[in-house]
Amino acid sequence: MQKVWAFVRGCFLLLRKGSRLYYTWLSALLVLIAIGVFAYVNQLYSGLIVTAMRDQVSWGFYISNFTFTVGVAAAAVLLVIPAYVYQWKPIKEIAILGELVAVSAIVMCLLFVTVDLGRPDRFWHLIPKIGILNFPKSLLAWDVVVLNTYLVLNFAIASYMLYSYYYQREPNMKYVFPILLFSIPAAISIHTVTAFLFNGLAARPFWNASILAPRFLASAFCSGPAGMILMFQVVRKWTNFDIKDKAIFKIAELIAYAMFINLFLLGAELFKEYYSDTVHLAPVKYLYQGLDGHSALVSYIWTATIFNLTAFFLFLIPQTRENYVTLNIGCVLIFIGVYIEKGMGLVIPGFVPDVLGDFYEYAPTGTEMLVTLGIWATGLLVFTLLLRIAVPIMNGDFHVSDDGVNPHIGDQLFLVRRRDVVPEEDLDSP
C-alpha cells in the first residue's frame, strides 16, 4: 500500500513538471472548460430551455456526442486484440495509449449524459441501494453499468501496467490477461448497449432496425482508430515516445475493413427502406433528401457520406494508406464523417418527423455547443494528464529511484520536439 501511495505521489509531482508548451496547452484547455462550465451553470439556472431541444426532439447534441464518444471508447479494443491476443509487438507497445483513450472517452460520455439531465441534482437516484437502478429492464440502466465497468477495467489495466513499469518489473500477466480478455467483450458491449438504447424503441422506426448495433460497432472501429492515428503522430512528434510506422499502417488497414462493413451495412439499410417504401421511410427521406420542405440535415449527412467514402478509398489503397499526407486527410475525414453520421445523422432523424408527424427542425444552440466544447476539452485534459504519466513511464524517464522510495523524473519537459530536434541530454536539465 505504501508503494501505491509513493507511486501516486510521484505521479502528482510529475504532473506539475512540464515545458512551456505543456502549460500553455493545459491553460488553453482550462479556459475552454471554464467557458463550458459557465454555459452549463447558465443552463442549470434557466433549465434546458436554453438548448434547442423540445418535446418533439427530446434528445439533441449532447446525446449525439455521447453516442460518438462511446464509439471512440469502444475502439480501444482494436488495439487490445492485436496487441495481447495476437502478441503483435508494434501495437503492444502502444496498446496502453488505446486504454487511456478509452478512459478519457468514457469520462466524456458520463459528462455528456450528465449535462443532458433535467435534474442533475437527482443523479443519486441511479445509484443502486441508495436510489433505484431499473436494471435489467431499462437499457439506460444497462448503459450505466457497462460504461462504468468498462471505465474501471481500462483504468485498472492501464494503472496496474504503469505501476509495474514504474517499479521496473514486468506486469504479472497472470492477473492482467483475464481482465484484458474481459475488456474485449466489455468494449463491444458498451457500444452494443448504446445502440440497443435507441434500437429497442418501436416508436422510432429510424432506430428500430436490427442492423443498428453492428452499424454502431463498424463505425466505431473507424472513428476511434482514426483519431488514435492522428494522436499517435502528435505524441511521437512532441514527446519522447516512439511509435512505429508499421503499427500506424496496420491500424489504417483495419480501418479500411471496418469502413467497408460500415458502408455495406448502411447500404443494406438504405436498400430496405427505399425499396420497401413503407411509412418507415420518412426519417430516412428527411435525412437524405429532405421531406415536405424540411431539409436541415441533408447537407450534414451528404458531407458525412462523401467524407466516409473518400476516406474508405484512401485507406483501401496501400499507397495512399502509407503516405502520411493522404493518411492524415483520411483520418480527419473519417473522424468528422462518423461524428456527423453517429451524431446529428442518427439521433436527430430518429425524432423527425415526430411520432405524430410534426416537424421540428433541430439545430444546437450556442449553449449546447459551448458545453460540448467544454466536455471535449475536459476529455483532452484527462487524456493529456494520463499521457503525462504514461509516456515517461513507458520510455523509462519516470520510475522509482535507486532508494526505492522517491521517484526518478528524467523527463522534466514532456511536450517538446522529439529527440532528433532536442538532444536527449538536454532533457535531463530543467
Binding site: 451553470v41 430551455i49 433535467g118 435534474r119 437527482r122 437516484h125 416508436a203 408527424g357 410534426d358
Partner: protein, 308 residues
C-alpha cells in the same frame, strides 16, 4: 418568495456551487446551503421514490407540499394521494365522427391540470387530418388556425396519453420514476424523475412532456384540488403527462376527466372497462373501434371510434 421557489433555487444554487468549485469540493459544498436553507429543501432532496413510502411518510410529504403550494399560490391547496379503486380499469373512447377540432379539451385540460402557461404545455394534441387520406399521421397538422371549425374536407383526431396496458415509457425509465397503477393509469413521481427524457423517446403517441424551464403557472389560475401523482404543480426539469384526471376520476363520486366535461359535442366517453354496463364497454362492443399504432403492441386503453 415562497418555500417552493426557494427550494428550487437552493437546489440549483447547490449544483451551481458544485460546478464552480469543482467536483473535488462537491462533498464539502453539500453542507453549504444547510445554513441558509429551510429543512424542507433537504427533506425533499432525500425523499424516496413514492412507491417506497409508507402511509405515514406519505402523509408528512403531502402536508409539506400542501404548505409549500399554499404559500406559493396564496390559497389553500390540497394534495391527495388517492389510490386506485378496486375493480376499476379506466378506458377512454373518442368519437372521430363527432370531434370538430375546437380544442376546448386542450385548454380544459390545461386549466384542470395546472400545466405551464408559459411556455405552454399541452397534454392533448388535436391533429387535423384530410378526409381523403384518412388516419395518416405523417400528413397531420397540429397548428391549424381557421376562423371556424370544422373545416371542409377535414376531420380531427385528439391524441393524449393512451394509458397503454404495455407501456414502452415505463419500461425504459432508468430510475422507476414512472409506472402503471392497477387502474391502468400511467403516472410519474415528479420528485423522483431525473429528467433523462428516455420515456419521451419511447412513447409512440407523443404523450409525454418535459418542463424545459420552470413552469409558468399564475397563482390566480392554479387549480388547488390536486393529486401527488397527477395535477400538482411540477418542478422544472421533469416529465409530465395525462393521468385521466386521477384527482377527479379516482374519487368515490367519480367525476369525469376535464376534457370530457368540456367537450361541446360529446365526442368523448370514459368509464370502467371491467364494468359490462359502462358506456365505454358499450362503445367497444357496438361501434367501429380502432386503436392507434396497433402494430406496436402497446395495447392502448384509448379507443377511437365512429358513431355514425
Amino acid at each position: 418568495m415562497s418555500d417552493m421557489e426557494k427550494r428550487d433555487e437552493h437546489v440549483f444554487r447547490l449544483t451551481r456551487r458544485k460546478a464552480l468549485k469543482g467536483l473535488a469540493l462537491g462533498i464539502g459544498t453539500m453542507v453549504l446551503p444547510a445554513k441558509d436553507a429551510s429543512a424542507s429543501v433537504w427533506e425533499s432532496f432525500f425523499q424516496k421514490n413514492f412507491r417506497e413510502l409508507g402511509k405515514s411518510e406519505r402523509r408528512v410529504i403531502l402536508e409539506r407540499l400542501e404548505k409549500e403550494y399554499s404559500a406559493r399560490y396564496k390559497k389553500p391547496v390540497r394534495v391527495k394521494d388517492t389510490g386506485p379503486i378496486e375493480g376499476v380499469l379506466y378506458g377512454y373512447g373518442l368519437d372521430l365522427s363527432r370531434c370538430i377540432g375546437c380544442r376546448r379539451c386542450v385548454y380544459g385540460c390545461v386549466t384542470e391540470n395546472n400545466q405551464s402557461r408559459d411556455p405552454q404545455i399541452h397534454w392533448i394534441k388535436v391533429l387535423r387530418l384530410a378526409k381523403e387520406r384518412g388516419v395518416d399521421l405523417e400528413h397531420s397538422e397540429q397548428y391549424y388556425n381557421p376562423a371556424t371549425v370544422p373545416e371542409e374536407g377535414h376531420f380531427y383526431m385528439p391524441v393524449q396519453c393512451h394509458q397503454c396496458e404495455n407501456p414502452p415509457c415505463t419500461k425504459v425509465c432508468p430510475v422507476q420514476a414512472t409506472w402503471k397503477e392497477i387502474d391502468g393509469i400511467v403516472v410519474v413521481d415528479y420528485n423522483w424523475c431525473i429528467g433523462c427524457r428516455y420515456c419521451m423517446a419511447a412513447c409512440p403517441y407523443g404523450a409525454r412532456h418535459f418542463n424545459w424551464k420552470k413552469p409558468g403557472l399564475p397563482a390566480g389560475e392554479m387549480n388547488p384540488e390536486t393529486h401527488y401523482l397527477g395535477n400538482r404543480p411540477r418542478p422544472v426539469g421533469v416529465v409530465e403527462k395525462c393521468t385521466f384526471c386521477m384527482q377527479r376520476t379516482r374519487e368515490p363520486d367519480g367525476m369525469y376527466p376535464a376534457c370530457l366535461e368540456v367537450c361541446p359535442v360529446g365526442a368523448r366517453k370514459f368509464g370502467n372497462l371491467l364494468d359490462p354496463t359502462s358506456e365505454i364497454r358499450n362503445v367497444i362492443e357496438n361501434k367501429r373501434v380502432f386503436i392507434l399504432k396497433e402494430d406496436l403492441n402497446t395495447q392502448p386503453k384509448f379507443y377511437y371510434f365512429y358513431s355514425v
